[in-house]
């Protein structure tokens, strides 16, 4: 089973077309293995990116050095998945 330990989801508040272009260039970088939950297409919508732990520093440095504001939407994806799985297990036991 694939684990997501240390992966974070960043919510990027895009303000300009230039920032959109920069984020689109990130999307094309296959080495970073980014998973765009919401794509960089418009400044009306946030851009949500699941960033694997191994790429986290690179991506944050990229955003900060380009003055692109972001917040951490999910601090550790695996923590949430563990909670979700525990809850499902508890529910199935209760149902039985």
């Amino acid at each position: 089973r694939q684990l997501f330990v240390g992966d974070q989801v960043l919510r990027v508040a895009v303000e300009t077309e230039e920032q959109l272009r920069l984020l689109a260039s990130l999307e094309e970088d296959e080495i970073l293995q980014l998973d765009f939950w919401l794509h960089p297409v418009s400044s009306d919508l946030p851009v949500d990116i699941r960033v694997p732990f191994a790429s986290l520093q690179t991506v944050k440095v990229f955003l900060e050095s380009n003055d692109i504001p972001y917040t951490v939407m999910i601090k550790d994806v695996q923590d949430l998945l563990d909670e979700e799985e525990a809850e499902m297990e508890a529910d199935s036991v209760r149902e039985r």
Binding site: R1, R11, D35, E84, E87, M88
Partner: protein, 307 residues
């Protein structure tokens, strides 16, 4: 039985399929389960048919879970099926709808992907088909329809999450729905349920040109989200796929619209802004309840505006 089911929890495919049987058993004169084919990995693909009789009545199609990881979509499908079954005979408007039209609801449109999210990779979105020449698996089933196939907003890279596949309807899951909808021939509305980002969209995605019915679809959509927001104040954006998210070719509602199903819509369900695809299970019932108000609003409009 269907009544003791916990709707505020996420469930495996097996449990959902068992629950569908119990729903049919509890409402035998209203609900039937149809198998419209099998998935790539040979899992059955089921549609729940809500019908009070008649021969090939005008119908409404609703599908959920075409993108595997959008779990609140499948969970909303389960809740909605139960709502339709239990409100028939109690809710005057729904009763009159079902006395005129049939509703077909597909809860898990991508069963292989859904199982894969439970067993191997919670972030899986695509089908699980294999392709010669690549180790990457799966196709984005919402880029695989014969509607601007292979155009902007879909990837030709088999490793991409938005890979359009080798040809239109190459995915058996898509082909099964296409064959079913075409052979039925009397669908008046086609609604796809996705998650997340709170949008109600109409065609096109493959083109940014307005469809001929755009003003009417926009008005229906706005009325639906107005109804939705009365429950918890959740705000939705309404517009064409291309104009309110991004250009995306090969999508299901573009295909259905081009087939002549005017009332084609796609939902992106609730997003708390904190969890994305990992919406906690305690959000399922609130999400499904508000979505129902919008769905019902659209279905009533379709009932009252035959074409």
């Amino acid at each position: 039985g269907s009544k003791s089911f916990n709707f505020a929890a996420y469930h495996t495919l097996e449990t959902i399929y068992q629950w569908m049987d119990s729903l049919v058993a509890d409402h035998p004169s209203l609900v039937t389960k149809l198998q419209i084919g099998s998935s790539y990995e040979n899992r059955p693909m089921y549609v729940l048919k809500f019908s009070t009789g008649g021969d090939n009545r005008p119908a409404i199609w609703i599908d959920a879970g075409i993108h595997a990881r959008e779990w609140v979509s499948q969970a909303t499908g389960v809740w909605t099926a139960n709502k339709i079954a239990t409100d028939y005979g109690r809710d005057t408007s729904l009763t009159s709808l079902l006395n005129k039209m049939d509703v077909f609801l597909m809860i898990v449109t991508n069963p292989d992907g859904y199982v894969f999210t439970h067993t191997s990779n919670r972030m899986w979105r695509k089908t699980r088909s294999r392709l010669p020449g690549t180790t990457c698996r799966g196709v984005d089933p919402n880029r695989n329809w014969d509607a601007g196939f292979g155009g902007p907003g879909a990837s030709r890279n088999p490793c991409s999450d938005s890979y359009h596949g080798p040809s239109p309807h190459s995915e058996v899951e898509v082909d099964n729905v296409v064959n079913f909808v075409q052979s039925h021939g009397n669908f008046k509305s086609f609604i796809s349920i996705h998650a997340y980002s709170q949008l109600l969209m109409y065609p096109y995605g493959y083109s940014c040109n307005d469809v001929p019915d755009a003003p009417e679809l926009d008005s229906v959509g706005r009325s639906a989200v107005k109804a939705l927001s009365t429950l918890f104040g959740t705000s939705y954006k309404v517009g064409s796929i291309c104009k309110i998210i991004y250009q995306a070719s090969g999508g299901s509602i573009d295909w259905s619209y081009n087939l002549g199903i005017k009332y084609s819509f796609a939902f992106e369900l609730r997003d708390t802004g904190r969890y994305g695809f990992l919406l906690p299970a305690n959000q399922i019932v609130p999400t499904a309840s508000e979505t129902w108000l919008a769905l019902k609003n659209i279905m009533e409009y379709v009932r009252d505006h035959p074409y």
